[in-house]
Amino acid sequence: MTENVQPREYSGRFRRSWAKLRRNKAALFGGALLFVYLFTALFASLLYPGSPSAPNLIMALEPPSHQHVLGTDELGRSILGRIIWGSRVSLLIALGVVAVGLVLGVPLGLVSGYYGGKIDFGIQRITDMMLAFPGFLLALALVAVLGVGLKNTVISIGISMIPIYIRLVRGCVLSVREQVYVEAARAVGTRDYKIILRHILPNVMVPITVQTSLGMGTAILFAAGLGFLGVGVQPPTPEWGAMLGSGRAYLFNAPHVATFPGVAIFLAVLSFNLLGDGLRDALDPRFRI
């Protein structure tokens, strides 16, 4: 019987949320921005054919012109081209980081909140330990151990996000666990894993979705920060943060080198933040960060 009622209720809620999201101009703007960003990342090879990393020293540090819309960097490479290809790198990082956070954080949060007791205590103490370091510093410390590069950037930032998901999911599970339908499922002898997957997980999806959108923005910011410090993705890979870092040396005579990659980072992060805020307002207005 519940099977008959639930889907209808869900589609109604979904439609209401969608209508609300469509009315939210800021969220729509974020969505449009995100679309441009995803399009650029997916079709980088069409938008800028040729290598974004091949040096052309004769053209070094050219200001913006017809030939190079955003100018060139210290090795004469087109900044626009590197920003276009860099969108791929940052999107890859954002997806990887969120995947690490979700895959490890959500199950741990579910288990911790659902079972409670010693398991909960253990998981929460580890979470405490990780949260004792501010996120960016934890990622930095992990990079110090693991080494630089794309893969380690993803792993380090991903690990630093796990405790956020654990806390978020656990908190929601604690309130959902006491609901009558969970008790009913338990009373008829449903297995724990089934209760968690069928009855608890769908109810914590809203905060997870919102956190994922915001988390992708944070991941891009963190990765750019690591790249800027020279401990993230390494050149010649076109990574926005690293581009900014190397442009810093030419701030006096060619400020455009450091300016445009920053705009790219800003717009990408802004799109995820706008969308995240919009999703939160549309899906659950009570849930605020």
Binding site: F133, G135, L137, G225, G230
Partner: protein, 329 residues
């Protein structure tokens, strides 16, 4: 008749004060004890950090050119030839004595390297957090009091821009404008108050944004509460309602956010200090990572962790002092 039901004021105050001090004391003790596992956790994390390194830590510390005897010597010196729990005990006992070893780069004690830079980072963080409170809280209040007006849109979109902007980029842009074009302020270094302006504004920017957002949402919630309506219907002036009735209640979550933002601030300090060549802990950590100077990395991370824990401890205590409900759970 209803008047006589009111409790006599002096008694009520005395009753609360007596309860207050004993509960407060218990809470402080409880809260202090609860930081112990976290401190042990941090020490474990730092301990395993060196062990997780690819290769032999003794080799790493000795450098590329070391002879096998030298490596063996360091291994013995570090106690790496002993069982792992003995190693941890040794590490821990040195840690509580603030003996963090020597820098692989300068050969100075790590504590000395850290002490030389800590005041700079603390100064930067303090100025930034003060700026953030001075601008963030009023902005949030104004925006909450006049929701969906141009000033609200200005504050909310400004705040959203603030949290989406990479700090290091903002820092560089400020350098371009104020140091290169206008030549008003120095681009980096220390010395005078002028050197503090750009780094602290940069660092404060996203904390201002966070605090403004939080203040706005908390104030909107508080302003819709019954007691606000009551205060208004009593005929109080709007300023009194906002400051005395609403803000006082909203301050508690705001204080917590300020404490939590301190972590973001420390993370941002690493980037800001790099942009402005500010000789603080953040730059020390980056330089040490690039030079693979592990004892200094360990020490600096430890100090950052301690700073964060103690700020949040202080915030929790202020929180409990301000709001008696906290102490009862």
């Amino acid at each position: 008749m209803p008047l006589s039901l009111r409790p006599k004021r002096p008694e009520r105050i005395r009753y609360f004060q007596a309860e207050n001090s004993s509960f407060m004391f218990q809470y402080v003790i409880k809260r202090l004890i609860s930081t112990i596992p976290v401190l042990i956790g941090i020490s474990l994390l730092l301990f395993f950090m060196l062990r997780m390194l690819p290769g032999d830590p003794a080799q790493v510390l000795a450098g590329q050119m070391a002879t096998p005897e030298e490596i063996e010597n360091i291994r013995h010196q570090l106690g790496l030839d002993r069982p792992i729990h003995v190693q941890y005990a040794l590490f821990f006992s040195r840690l509580v004595q603030f003996d963090l070893g020597r820098s692989a780069r300068t050969q100075n004690p790590v504590t000395q390297e850290i002490w030389a830079r800590l005041p700079n980072t603390v100064l930067l963080a303090m100025v930034a957090i003060t700026l953030a409170c001075l601008f963030g809280i009023p902005a949030g209040i104004v925006s909450a009091v006049r929701p969906y007006t141009w000033i609200d849109y200005l504050v909310t979109s400004g705040a959203l821009f603030g949290i989406s902007m990479p700090v290091f980029w903002l820092g560089l842009m400020l350098v371009v404008v104020f140091s290169i074009v206008l030549q008003w302020l120095p681009a980096g270094g220390t010395g005078s108050w002028k050197h503090v302006v750009l780094p602290s504004v940069t660092l404060a920017s996203f904390v201002i944004a966070f605090i403004a957002r939080m203040t706005r949402s908390t104030m909107i919630e508080v302003l819709s509460q019954d007691y606000t309506t009551t205060a208004r219907s009593k005929g109080l002036r709007e300023e009194v309602v906002i400051v005395k009735h609403a803000l006082k209640n909203a301050l508690i979550p705001i204080i917590t956010v300020v404490g939590l933002q301190f972590g973001l601030l420390l993370g941002g300090a690493v980037l800001t200090e790099t942009v402005f060549a500010w000789p603080g802990l953040g730059r020390l950590i980056v330089d040490s990572i690039l030079a693979r100077d592990y004892p200094v990395i360990q020490g600096a991370i430890l100090v950052f962790g301690l700073l964060y824990i103690f700020v949040n401890l202080a915030v929790d205590l202020v929180y409990a002092y301000v709001d008696p409900r906290i102490r009862y759970d």
